[in-house]
Assembly symmetry: C2
Homo-oligomer: 344 residues x 2
């Protein structure tokens, strides 16, 4: 009856505290896993990304009536991430979400707080969308604890705010596939136009993450500001063919369409052993290989799990010969994105 | 038996003359219609083209044993095309085809000749693939009269040779859709990598061809040689989304993805009334509008025949207010390409 009354009268912050846990549909604590993502995707620099099954980050969020967002603990980051909610991607994205909802819904959520526990399964600065996974897991968890006022797709701008803290720009090419799963195309930012492409079951992905750190920041700095028209045309021919390959589930077409004449040649210079690792992937049967994000991780497209494992091993061995340790992964394209893994 | 003997012994030019008309499967005269095509397709400059149902050119070819290619007649060109086979796109493409086949098949075709009648239904220099239609119709007719030694797709390089005579470069973005139908993507030229995309039935095309002439040659000269990276990225985001729209049959997505920040702004300057004609198309309901080829024709994407007719009319009227006469067309995307329209 109390819940019913509050709905009839409009929502009151005073009543709100007493409502927590009354509605049994909404848990008070939730755990969300958000996966690694590959952005840039060869020729499709800045416009395409896709999600992997693993690794990923897990956020456990507990809803309180403190009106505050607190980072309770972070593990797996070697102490490198800020525990201040307003400096942490997870805290910032939840804060952006609450600000929006309070504006939309007449301050309905001003007394809501969250306690966040973040378990990093993704290496930081590896080019696998580490900050995106944290921000997406956080914003999905918070939305769920609020009774899902927004759809998954509607959460994107708030996840992008978290990305802005980490990268200095609100890019969507990691957060969108992390949130929504599959291959996601960002046609434009103003207005934001995000297109879900298919997730071809025929594709396996091999990823190798050499233990080198490269800040996105630095990787962007090496890029030339203008490109020859001829190279740009070749690039968009490849981008178009990559999208066609995704729709057709044609791993060979996807692989050869990764060819990137503009970004990769400049960024590869920053990664010792890049060329030989890429060649070893192709020699082991990958249809194509490129940088993941701004590196230093590499991804390669393969037509079976067995091939992906062989390719991942050969890339890791290639780095090992240079004395660089590396972690390798294999995965399908994850068509689900962030997933709820626990409700309490 | 004569035919059989000649096959067993390898082909003899002396025997060949007597074989003409012996094989009743192969006609001695054939007519082929090849349709107008839209290349460049907004953001997809130089990499995408598609075929229309009409207008188009018709080649009637008669096989002889003269060992020569002769242009017997050309109509509809106002006397502007060369009647010399080695200067005419139709003659050049057939010649390239014969050269290849003679090399491949031990001079099997050295005594073969063709008499060509070309009826131009396509305005020259309009941006609707006029030279491509002639070259494709010719090469398809010749191949048919030779007993189809090559597949449609295998004819592409020879049709491209005809295009080289007309445009100075062996571009494939008109000839490939003219030959094969539908939306055709040219991923690369070396090696030639041509991808057939779907032909969405949901799309209608309005075309207006103002009676202004613009040589491809001049239109290429205005293009800058380098582009800002930011514009190039925006362009390939649009190209990727255009391909996604084609696969999804989403006319709205296709339309908004035509947005071309690089080529159109420069070429539109060469076409009086371009901006107002484009706006009139959008006002009349087109989802997007851009130059066809290098202009001066415009094409607009629509979701019904009725809408396409309204859009075509409004573009033509827009030119009319400037005192520029124009011809307008409406069509579906033609999924067949060049078609045999007569055998004699």
């Amino acid at each position: 009856m109390l819940a019913l009354k509050s709905q009839q009268r409009g929502f009151s912050p005073t009543l709100y505290g007493s409502l927590v846990n009354v509605d049994t549909q909404i848990p008070s604590t939730i755990s969300v896993f958000a996966p690694a993502t590959v952005a840039n995707v060869g020729s499709a620099f800045d416009v395409l990304g896709f999600a992997l099954d693993a690794p990923g980050d897990t956020v456990t969020a507990h809803r309180t009536n403190s009106g505050k967002i607190s980072i309770i603990s972070i593990s797996g980051d070697e102490g490198r991430l800020s525990r201040q909610a307003d400096e942490n991607t997870a805290g910032v994205s939840i804060s952006a979400l609450l600000t929006y909802l309070n504006k939309r819904d007449a301050n309905k959520y001003t007394s809501v707080g969250f306690e966040i526990d973040l378990r990093k399964g993704l290496p930081i600065g590896s080019g696998l969308g580490s900050s995106s996974a944290s921000t997406v897991a956080a914003v999905v968890a918070a939305n769920e604890l609020l009774g899902s006022p927004l759809t998954r797709a509607e959460l994107l701008p708030f996840a992008m705010e978290g990305e802005r803290v980490a990268c200095g720009a609100a890019h969507a090419d990691n957060v969108a596939p992390c949130l929504l799963g599959g291959f996601i195309l960002i046609r434009s930012y103003e207005p934001l136009d995000v297109i879900s492409l298919p997730s071809p079951a025929s594709v396996w992905v091999a990823v190798v993450s050499p233990h080198l750190e490269l800040k996105t920041f630095d990787a962007r700095r090496v890029l030339r500001r203008s490109v020859p028209l001829e190279s740009a045309v070749a690039q968009w021919g490849n981008v178009a063919a990559l999208v066609a390959g995704i729709y057709q589930g044609d791993v060979a077409l996807m692989g050869r369409s990764l060819e990137d004449r503009i970004i990769e040649p400049e960024r590869a210079e920053l990664i010792p052993g890049y060329g030989t690792a890429k060649q070893s992937a192709l020699d082991a049967g990958a249809t194509g290989c490129s940088l993941s994000g701004s590196g230093p991780s590499l991804f390669a497209l393969c037509s079976s799990q067995h091939q992906a494992e062989r390719v991942a091993d050969s890339m890791a061995q290639s780095f090992a010969t240079l004395g660089i340790t590396a972690t390798s992964y294999t995965s399908r394209v994850n068509s689900n994105g962030a997933t709820i893994v626990g409700r309490h």
